[in-house]
């Protein structure tokens, strides 16, 4: 259904009452599952994702020569009840496959895969509820789970979305879109490496004037850095707890 964003230009408040540069509430926990090597639970607003890491463990021996680095396998399962209307997504869903591919390639270049020759790291993500920024949430959850699993990586990979209000005269960027806004506005998802400006993942799927891309990207990159701060705090809080209880 078409949603009226015209009010934004008046109140400068978004549908959920945020300002243009506000993130939604991010709540994250790590090592939530005892069985896995690493695990995390992440909420970005109403988008909720569970991620578990298994490995690095010896996977199926592929007889190919290039076994010098460990493989990263990603499996994303979207719960039927996660969306607004119940939808069963099969394995063959191309959107999910694309996301899996994105995570695989993104993390195999950020993890120090050469430390674990011919072994496999399996990332399993379960999407419990989706309300926008799904890819970003998956990337963040995966980062946390991999840190929890103690797998060396060059830096956090943090992601968030940025959109831009439709009305041409004042195209203002918006940070961290929710589901409704994603349906209505052009937006992109950016995954940034740590505090740098280096973009590991960039996905833009809606038609938009080239001038507006710049603003969106800038906001997204900035947002990613804030996300990094939050995730880092989660890791530290958990780390301190472990260190103290370890006594």
């Amino acid at each position: 259904m078409p949603l009226d964003t015209s009010t934004y230009s008046l109140a400068l408040l978004r549908l959920d009452g945020r300002r243009w540069n506000e993130l939604r509430r991010i709540h994250a926990q790590i090592s939530t599952q005892a069985a896995a090597d690493g695990s995390s639970y992440l909420e970005m607003g109403n988008t909720k994702v569970i991620c578990t890491v298994t490995g690095p463990a010896e996977g199926r021996r592929t007889a190919q020569g290039a076994g010098q680095e460990c493989r990263v396998e990603v499996e994303i399962s979207v719960a039927g009840f996660s969306g607004v209307e119940r939808k069963r997504r099969g394995r063959a869903d191309k959107r999910t496959q694309e996301m899996q591919h994105t995570l695989t390639t993104a993390f195999s270049s950020i993890l120090f895969t050469h430390l674990y020759p011919h072994s496999t790291i399996i990332l399993t993500l379960h999407v419990l509820s989706q309300d926008g920024s799904l890819l970003a949430a998956c990337l963040n959850a995966a980062t946390l789970a991999l840190i929890d699993a103690g797998i060396p990586m060059s830096d956090y990979l943090c992601a968030c979305t940025a959109g831009s209000t439709a009305n041409e005269d004042t195209d203002e960027p918006l940070l961290d879109l929710n589901g409704l806004e994603e349906q209505e506005l052009p937006f992109l998802t950016a995954g940034v490496l740590g505090d740098s400006d280096k973009v590991a993942v960039l996905m833009l799927e809606t038609r938009v004037r080239v001038e507006r891309v710049e603003g969106m990207l800038a906001v997204a990159v900035d947002g990613c850095k804030r996300v990094r701060g939050i995730l880092d705090a989660v890791v530290r809080a958990h780390g301190r707890r472990m260190v103290e209880e370890g006594v």
């Binding site: 020759p117 060059s154 530290r236 780390g239 209880e245 006594v247």
Partner: protein, 333 residues
């Protein structure tokens, strides 16, 4: 009837900038004092105590005097050492490495590990020791029945499953580590070999390997986080080399459990319960903690003798917490 609506769970309060600053400071300032307290290869209690916690991408030090060790890397465009894992800084002489808070077991020579046979290949077994790669146990690295001195024959190669077959548990020592990080094991000692008469548990993040004895049970804590709790069997003391043949009889490779009395089983269950309680509380699991927890549980049962809130044999929940508290208390005191 009145009812109250609970507010939604608040987001965990973060004042991360402060955390940031703090940790950065001590990671650098506490450098000297670190030198003193952590000089062993393995992190000691003090080392874990050190509050210098770092996370991936964080610059540990830009001082070129340090050499980078595990868990760190030096970006191509700079000289400062950057952490790649979340963990505590560990400085050995001039070597600077990070021990991750939690990670898969990485084999090191001399580690006492518990493993499960994954495959049987020609002249060697592949053993799952929860490391990135399966460990290898060569046929040449086990005690053959009929004595250590006996030469290995083609017959042995044919019926390797008579010694270890898929799914068998064993305790072994890491003899060497290959270039790709996979371990080669050996059981050439009476301390090692096939496991039976007991109960298997897996916990994560053990730091030391132990063989402990509480009451009637033997406890083997593998460095790789696998734990074996078994009925105590009398080892033949100071075996003369001449009498090895008897001690190394075929029985050491039998998969048959001996007779285990109900009392022993209860003891085994108790130790397991203690360890589980420790793990749930996130407390350290090592020899003295296990022993303390075990004693604490006995004490607790003694106190609550005959009271209805005794809670039976189950060592979880509240009782578990109490036990851990008592154990920790006795540890610090």
């Amino acid at each position: 009837m009145p009812f109250t609506i609970l507010p939604p769970a608040p987001a965990i309060p973060f004042n991360h900038p402060h955390h940031y600053a703090a940790s950065d400071n001590d990671s650098l300032s506490s450098a000297d004092e670190m030198d003193i307290d952590t000089t062993t290869a393995r992190p000691t209690k003090r080392a874990r105590l050190s509050r210098s916690l770092v996370t991936p991408g964080e610059t540990v030090t830009s001082d070129p005097q340090w050499m980078r060790g595990h868990g760190t890397y030096i970006p191509s465009d700079s000289t400062s050492i950057v952490s790649t894992v979340a963990g505590t800084v560990l400085k050995t002489n001039k070597l600077l490495s990070i021990t991750p808070l939690r990670a898969r077991y990485t084999p090191e020579i001399g580690d006492l590990v518990i493993g499960r046979i994954a495959e049987v290949q020609s002249r060697r077994w592949r053993v799952d020791i929860s490391a990135p790669l399966l460990g290898a146990l060569p046929l040449s690295a086990i005690n053959l029945p009929g004595g250590i001195l006996r030469k290995r024959t083609a017959v042995d190669e044919l019926n390797m499953r008579a010694f270890f077959s898929e799914g068998d548990l064993l305790v072994a020592e890491v003899q060497s580590v290959f270039a790709d990080g996979s371990a080669s094991l050996h059981t050439r000692s009476l301390k090692y070999g096939k496991l039976r008469n007991g109960y298997f548990m897996a916990v994560s993040g053990l730091q030391f390997g132990y063989r402990a004895r509480g009451g009637e049970v033997d406890v083997v804590l593998g460095v790789n986080g696998f734990i074996w709790i078994a009925r105590h069997v009398e080892q033949a003391k100071d075996v003369a080399v001449t009498r090895l043949e008897e001690s190394v009889s075929l029985s050491i490779y039998s998969s048959q459990n001996d007779e285990i009395g109900p009392q022993t089983r209860r003891e085994i269950a108790r130790v397991a319960g203690c360890i589980r309680a420790l793990v749930e509380a996130g407390a350290r699991v090592d020899e003295d903690m296990v022993v303390r927890a075990y004693e604490a549980s006995l004490e607790l049962d003694f106190e609550t003798e005959g009271r209805e809130d005794a809670g039976g044999e189950f060592l979880g929940g509240e009782k578990g917490k109490r036990i851990v508290e008592m154990a920790l208390g006795s540890a610090t005191s």
